[in-house]
Amino acid sequence: MSKTRNRLGVTPEALAKRRFLTRTLGGTGALLLGGCDKLGSTETFKKVLATGESLSKGAHHLLGGRVSMAQEFSPADMSPSFRGNGNTNPASAAYKAMAANGFADWKLVVDGLVEQPGAWSLEQLRAMPSRTQITRHDCVEGWSAIAQWTGVPLAQLLAAAKPKPEARYVVFHCADAFGSAAYYGSIDMDDAFHPQTLLAYTLNDKTLPVTNGAPLRLRVERQLGYKHAKYVMRLELVDDFSRIGGGHGGYWEDQGYQWYAGI
């Protein structure tokens, strides 16, 4: 009897056996996993699980200190290209018009709990003291890429805007959106004043492309990729972010991801 094999040499009998094994194991697992799924969907248990995030944050601060530096790399380590992930081309007409004009009309608004609210053009930001760093972007999904960023340290801009003492977070309002939900994110003042935290306008010696967040994106090197807001339009200093968006401090945080995404 000749056995028909598929392209990679697996017979239908072998496939049937795999299916049987999978289903037997699957049946047992489903009972236990069904319980886990049910447990995981209750609000109380979600709160219990979320204590892991507070413990991680506390341990990071304890072990690394508040100004521990992210690793920096040499030009030889740079990835051949820097992947664009999430939104790579904001759909709004206002953004498209600004992009068509080379962001000449774009201004970064800084407001909220600051003594000196204002708006900075790209030209003004480029004229401020800058920092260049080669760092690794670690995505929550599990991939990473090394690239060189140049931008104005957020601390510089905050020094100009003068945060009020009650300001606890910097909220980044962005031009991109997932459906009708605008992208936004937030970091605390430790990360905002960290020397490696940049508002970057240059990627690998070239003007920041639209794919990676033109004209300005956040680099907050001690945290995972989803905290690095792209297409930044406005910084708002707040003492509490529960009234912004879904109330969890960012677009991905509203989808259930941790607010503290320290690496």
């Binding site: 392209r7 990679l8 886990c36």
Partner: protein
Amino acid sequence: MSPPAEQPAGQPRSYLYDRHSLPMRVMHWVNVISLTVLLMSGLMIFNAHPSLDWGKSSYTGRPSVFEIAALRTSSGQLIGLTRVFGHQFDTTGVLGVPTGPNGAPAIIAFPSWITIPTHYSLAAGRQWHFFFAWLVAFVAIHVFEVIVSGLWNHLRSMITGRYRITEAPGEART
């Protein structure tokens, strides 16, 4: 616990004694649950980017050490592939393209019956993973228990299998 005083001659005797203390039993079961949850929620996290790379970043030009992928042949058939150190295996039905709960092929690295949660959710998988990772940190308490309850005796028994029992004077050894 000492054996019952009266022994009918020639009868095999059986009695229960305290083999594992309560803290040890609690710690062991916490670990059993935690390691199971860590594995299963870890597979969910892996499903977000089913590839393990070697080097300073994922884009070093080197092939992945371990990778699970799904591909569709020109005839439209879905094939699940697993690559380990450059060797490729057809894992259709289990990895890459597992058979879903409804019997239809699903496009996901590890099948839903081995991940927590069973539906794809990187966010929820991470919440489970990091909470139970902290429970495993209680291994420090376990090590402390081992130390205070007779470190050398425990270590010897872990290696040679022989554990020293010291009996009070007058307690008969039978």
